[in-house]
Symmetry: C2
Subunit: 543 residues, 2 copies
């Protein structure tokens, strides 16, 4: 049972002023920095919340109490242990020995379903309440209630963001209590693309990225595993494919990929793999040169051979055993068909089939879609497929926008679902896009019909890997990915501020510093170019 | 008992050629990259080693056997668990179920002393042998023997670098076995400076840095905690001092600092704190303005007041409870004494004492030294103190070079000990210094007398924080700090190659990729400027 609605006063107004507020910062002489206490330092902002002016101390021996038919979950137990380490990062000094009495000694998590299937649209809603036992509040503990473990994970993240270490008292405190939060995401699909073909990303780094995604409540890791530069993934039935890796160490075994999927699931994050066809696939041919039209003209994949589709099918069969998510990305972008014309046997095949190169492109994409659908996948394709032959696309297709604005309106008008990644704002490798433009991008822009708006599954920021490797990927992803994450999670009304510099920037800077505290290499928010170093000495909260 | 010397053939020649070598890499079509198998991919290079041409498999259930009076150590147990996670990062798939028999199922660590005191010059030597049970070798296991747990930690690191995951067999293997390694550092002091005043570094980030230092066998974290920009450290007896922090969240409690010290100790790393006086101390006055000559002229600290030295003494008293290392850095650099002349009461005091500003600078430094020595510390000072009044410096002083080359020769000629940090090569914030210049820097350059060479304790790379915060500090430190780390650990003969591009660069690139695999944001090695992004898609091993 969720909290009674009566307790959940919609308080968007509290974003902008609060009569109960307690100063979060003291005026140190060194610093002119005083955080604006009228703001709520949660990121992304919950959909509904109220707070008052109390301060609660949190017991460093905080215990977990699990309830509901879904409460007996190792996912929750493990998440609780992770969050204990985050919340109680600082040793509380001598407080324990002083025998202090804390306001909150228990976190109760109730989960109303034991279905731990993680799929698109899984219920991520939760309610969170924190209050002391007194005349005003009768809670006396922190409580999270959710319909699924994944909602509970989102609630744990919010709880952890409410917990602040007080350096004077050396206790963890929750300010502005009691809190009543009821929260749910605006969009079901909140993605981040990583590209392990342009640069191999070690498993540890992918896990670091997954951790950081969970802090921003992103929920889909779009794993662009393979591209023309390298083929790092093991495909047991075609064991030469990963000879297209850069080196024998820059590879992912089947077990590595499963490890990533499981690690992500424990954080409520789906992994959507991509096998980009027929373009962006040159690396396939290092193991199987027959996949190239010829050794001198290597892309797109040879459309004329059944062998090509045997390999596509085998890859998807193997990947089906690894990736349980219902969405599978088949790419389909930037297909230059010149090789099909210039290679005699392909040209002859086109003639025999009475196909133009455009027909053959459509043929390839649709045949790959059929393969994916036969394996119980929902195909996702980059927008060129829609732009080129929308009337032939399988109606199940999710169209992934990237080329520019205004695509999702056309996509949903034709009844397809859409993912928004307009490169002008949500390609993270575009280093000149400031946080505010990322933040103000709106996935449903140009779509008035509510039933059509619902066809926009959400959006995704894309971290293409040409200049992003282990050394700089996190500082390129963050903090701008967080700007998109709030856009995708929070209510549209609350992300449409009159003055982002006043009401959003300080909150994003606070979140960037929170990422830093958690060991994530989030870059200064206001640098002119993404991932530039800080311009000089100073506080994290002002850079 | 260490391994019999007869087994330990000095094999520096094996650096450059090996008649027994087994290919480490296979020629994939994608890549022209084949590692030069004549090289030994250990970083830093051990002082003595031999190898042959066998390949050994390592049991994923590798067990630890501890022996010797120092073997019963939680430091070792914890380190072994850490290294298991590093060595067996990849799941071995179905191998376990296949009931494979592995060549190496036990790591035996013998530690000959139970003294776990970690001080300058602690015995870090170790021997490591790995071989199968057969006619040729009678070892049948991996064995580390060391005189202290810290030597054993160095051996564990070397062992972990010999273990490679074979993506084909999905087992961890050691190539070129059997190995016999006897190793010890060339210099006792192998440092890295981090600066938490220009940018606050969260505890998690300091721990990440400590982890990465241990991979390169660096052993001193020089913690430049405080500077003019901010004073983040808690000093219980002067509780307003850390009001000089940027914000109330950018601070270290006493417990945080102890946590750092303990974390470092578990990795064999000493923490040397710095309290830089009398310059670089403006932030002290935010809490106690009396420490400033005046509110308008704030540096150096007011030399005329006993209160100043009371505070210095109190800080050192509090820090003595936190930092057990025998070295304490008192700074002393870049002291501009103009404020002492322009502030009437200080000027009057100078006149009363019949002191010039230079006398007063000396007076301040020497008085601070006395305070440190009275607390059983060995003082370290930046070279300006030596350059200005060497004949008055306490003979215990360790002089820390930074301004340029040629300083340590003068320092040791006068009988002082020296730490080498020539800014032209070992200041990591100098982004235009390529790895090779870092590597070729030689701490004892210009010192011919061996007894004088021994006064050079070692060296330190300095990561000043003006443009290095959480987002970019690791990519600025690495890989160049590793170049210095090998210079400081390995034998001079083995780091003086005729052609670094052929024999050292591939090894450093390999180590950079090893850091990446362990989640450390080490930047491409050959970028023109440090911490630049990779110039384009490609293999870690070639960037």
């Amino acid at each position: 049972m969720l909290l009674p609605l009566s307790l959940l006063i919609l308080s968007l107004s509290s974003l902008f002023f609060s009569t109960f507020s307690r100063p979060l910062s003291q005026g140190f002489s060194n610093s002119t920095l005083n955080l604006d206490d009228s703001l709520v330092y949660l990121w992304p902002l919950p959909s509904h919340f109220t707070f008052r002016d109390d301060t609660l101390s949190i017991d460093p021996d905080l215990s977990l109490s699990l309830a509901g038919i879904g409460g007996n979950s190792t996912i929750l137990e493990e998440a609780f242990q992770r969050y204990l380490k985050i919340i109680f990062k600082h040793n509380s000094g001598d407080n324990l020995r002083r025998g202090l009495i804390y306001d909150i000694s228990e976190l109760k998590i109730t989960v109303n379903s034991d279905n731990e299937t993680l799929q698109l649209g899984v219920d991520e809603s939760y309610s969170l309440s924190i209050g002391r036992i007194d005349g005003f509040s009768v809670i006396g503990k922190a409580q999270i209630e959710a319909n699924t473990v994944y909602g509970a994970l989102r609630g744990l993240e919010t709880f952890s963001q409410l917990c602040s270490f007080n350096y004077e008292s050396k206790t963890v405190e929750v300010y502005k209590a009691p809190w009543y939060i009821r929260d749910e995401p605006r969009f079901a699909y909140r993605g981040l693309l990583v590209d392990t073909s342009r640069h191999y990303l070690p498993i540890d780094v992918i896990k670091q990225i997954i951790d950081s995604m969970s802090f921003a409540k992103l929920n889909v890791l779009h794993w662009h595993i393979i591209d023309e530069e390298s083929f790092p993934l093991e495909v047991p039935t075609y064991p030469n494919l990963w000879k297209g890796a850069y080196t024998k160490w820059e590879r992912y075994t089947v077990e590595d990929a499963r490890d990533v999927v499981n690690y992500a699931k424990l954080r409520g994050i789906n992994v959507m793999p991509e096998v980009d066809v027929p373009g962006h696939a040159e690396s396939w041919g290092y193991g199987y040169p027959d996949l190239w039209p010829s050794s001198s003209c290597r892309e797109p994949l040879d459309v004329s051979k059944n062998f090509t589709f045997d390999v596509v099918s085998a890859i998807l069969t193997e990947m089906r055993k690894i990736f349980p998510f219902e969405l599978f990305h088949l790419g389909g972008d930037e297909v230059n068909t010149d090789c099909w014309i210039s290679t005699p046997h392909v040209k002859q095949w086109l003639k025999d089939q009475n196909m133009t190169t455009k027909d053959a492109y459509q043929y390839f994409v649709l045949r790959a879609q059929e393969i994916a659908i036969s394996k119980n996948w929902t195909p996702v394709n980059w927008e060129e497929t829609f732009n080129t032959f929308s009337s032939h696309l399988n109606p199940l297709t999710v169209v992934h926008n990237w080329l520019g604005p205004g695509v999702c309106p056309k996509v949903v008008a034709k009844g397809f679902r859409c993912i928004y990644s307009n490169q002008g704002v949500w390609y993270l490798d575009h280093l000149d896009v400031p946080w505010e433009r990322v933040y103000n991008a709106e996935p449903i822009e140009g779509i008035k019909d509510i039933s059509k708006q619902e066809l926009v599954l959400g959006g995704e920021v894309c971290m293409w890997g040409e200049t992003a490797d282990t050394s700089d990927i996190q500082q390129t992803i963050w903090p701008r990915a967080a700007a998109a994450a709030e856009r995708l999670w929070s209510r549209k009304e609350s992300t449409t501020a009159v003055n982002n510099t006043l009401v959003t920037l300080p909150r994003l800077q606070y979140f960037r510093c929170l990422l830093n505290r958690r060991g994530v290499q989030a870059a200064p928010v206001t640098n002119e170019y993404a991932r530039s170093p800080p311009y000089g000495a100073g506080s994290c909260y002002k850079q």
